[in-house]
Amino acid sequence: MNIPSVVAQLVFFLVALLTLISGFLTVTFRNVFHAGLALVGTFFGVAALYLMLEAEFLAVVQVLIYIGAIAVLILFAIMLTRGLMQSETSNINKQWAWAALAIAVLFLGMFLIILQVPWVHSGGAIYRDIVPFLGTQLLTTYLLPFEVVSVLLLAALVGAFIIARE
């Protein structure tokens, strides 16, 4: 085994460990704001995993969308709605049993699917210059879904204007 792949594996385990730890902290922190911050850590870990898979575009988009937009929205909502000093809450409410059941079923389902899928090894055929390729594909093969999504986002933006005007 050569040195680069050993280093790559070590880095992978480190990143995976940090991702899992922050994911675990997300669901165990009793302070909602802290949980939100731990979620940011999880997103960063996932972005780092994308980087290790040489999917730079996905990594950057992960940071931009999940941290720059979604996590910020979550933290913003927490800061707007929670009392600052009494933000310690219990992690468990009356629905915990049903939630645990649903999660268990979901986990089992995904686990079985992952086991059954015949994973294709690309055999080193990785697109080095992914951005032009992705751009071309979005504007030719996948034009319709791309345009539908952009119209949806534009509608949301215009909707925000309308609500703000009132």
Partner: protein, 378 residues
């Protein structure tokens, strides 16, 4: 390597020289080729990172000097003039003062969040320096996603501002943090839309690609000259970016007269220094991005013959744009929150959307006409 090419392109030449020397030393020691490559790569990376980490605080220190001097002149004062000639050593004295100040952490703060906030604010800014092209071939990384990378990192800083506002457990800090976040989110949209104009014109989101697309007209084919979209996109970008880094006239998150110091009220010593560092580095960064995507980056006359001129052009343009922002600070009053939101959502966003549509339509029409002419000619 001849002397002329060394003089006209010293930095790239020195880096190649170091690279060759290390490679030949390792090869003569009998180190295998693949390990040599890794070691050389690591050493070059460490050198580059060190230069960037020294450049960033150095720029920041002299930007504070420039700001104090310029604003003082605008207000008919002299500014710092006691430490060194023209007060040039003042930033160094200030830095020593920052480093030796006591770090006071109030009792009621949320320990880890309060501690991490300044770090989370500074790291994205310093990471952004990795993709800036300071001259011909003088960028740490030539990322083909550079612009997207910069936008993504810019959005991460919001988290740090939130952490500072929330972790301080102080109402001024909280209000400042909320204002900052609302402002950053609102002005990110026109900022990114304005940045997409040069992307459309250049057909690339790599900073190198965008700079190279502006090489026409004797090194003056800058996108700012693409009337009318260039100047409008630049103005939209400048306004939105100024708002995003919370500078005057958009400094509501740290409005001294209302909020003490906004989200960094509860910080002292070097932690406050880090917020200050991030603010100035952000100013440098937005000026550098604007210089790169609208003013041709290192492009200019004679760059092809004398590559070292690229550094002069890049820093000249960047410092000029920084000066424009300092000029804002010296002249404009702070705007109100409702004005801020109205201006962002009802003026900048529609303008930038229309701009993107117009640019794309024009480019399409231009290509269509060119194709038609070509088929007629052939």
């Amino acid at each position: 390597m001849d002397i002329w090419s060394f003089i006209t392109n010293p930095f790239v030449s020195i880096s190649q020289l170091i690279n060759n020397v290390i490679t030949s030393i390792l090869t003569s020691l009998g180190v295998p080729a693949d390990i040599t490559r890794i070691v050389v790569f690591l050493i070059m990376a460490i050198i580059t990172i060190t230069i960037l980490l020294l450049l960033a605080p150095g720029m920041m220190m002299y930007m504070t000097w420039l700001e104090r001097k310029l604003v003082a002149r605008m207000q008919d004062r002299l500014g710092p003039n006691r430490v060194g000639p023209f007060g040039l050593l003042q930033p160094i004295a200030d830095m020593i003062k920052f480093l030796t100040k006591e770090d006071i952490v109030p009792e009621g703060v949320d320990g880890p969040v309060h501690l991490l906030a300044p770090i989370v604010v500074v790291i994205p800014v310093i990471l952004s320096f990795a993709v800036i092209q300071f001259g011909v071939g003088l960028g740490a990384v030539d990322l083909n996603l550079a612009l997207l990378y910069l936008v993504a990192l810019g959005s991460v800083a919001t988290i740090g501002v939130f952490m500072a506002g929330f972790g301080s457990h102080n109402k001024f800090a909280l209000i400042g943090g909320m204002r900052a976040a609302a402002q950053i989110i609102s002005y990110e949209i026109p900022q990114v839309l304005a940045l997409s104009i040069p992307v459309l014109l250049a057909g690339s989101i790599s900073l190198t690609g965008i700079v190279q697309a502006q090489s026409g007209l004797f090194g003056l084919g800058w996108f700012i000259f693409y009337i009318p979209v260039g100047p409008i996109a630049f103005l939209v970008y400048l306004i939105a970016a100024t708002a995003e880094v919370n500078r005057v006239p958009f400094d509501l998150p740290e409005a001294e007269s209302e909020l003490v110091a906004g989200y960094h009220t509860e910080y002292s010593g070097m932690k406050f220094g880090l917020f200050y560092l991030a603010e100035f580095l952000n100013t440098f960064l937005i000026s550098a991005i604007a210089a790169t995507v609208f003013f041709g980056g290192w492009q200019g006359p004679f760059v092809a013959q004398v590559p070292v001129l690229g550094i002069v052009y890049f820093f000249g343009k960047t410092i000029l744009l920084i000066t424009v922002q300092l000029w804002f600070r010296g002249t404009l009053p702070r705007i109100r929150v409702d004005q801020l939101m109205n201006f962002g959502w009802k003026r900048l966003v529609p303008i930038s959307l229309a701009l993107v549509l117009f640019t794309a339509a024009t480019l399409w029409a231009y290509r269509f006409v060119m194709l038609a002419l070509k088929s007629l000619g052939g």
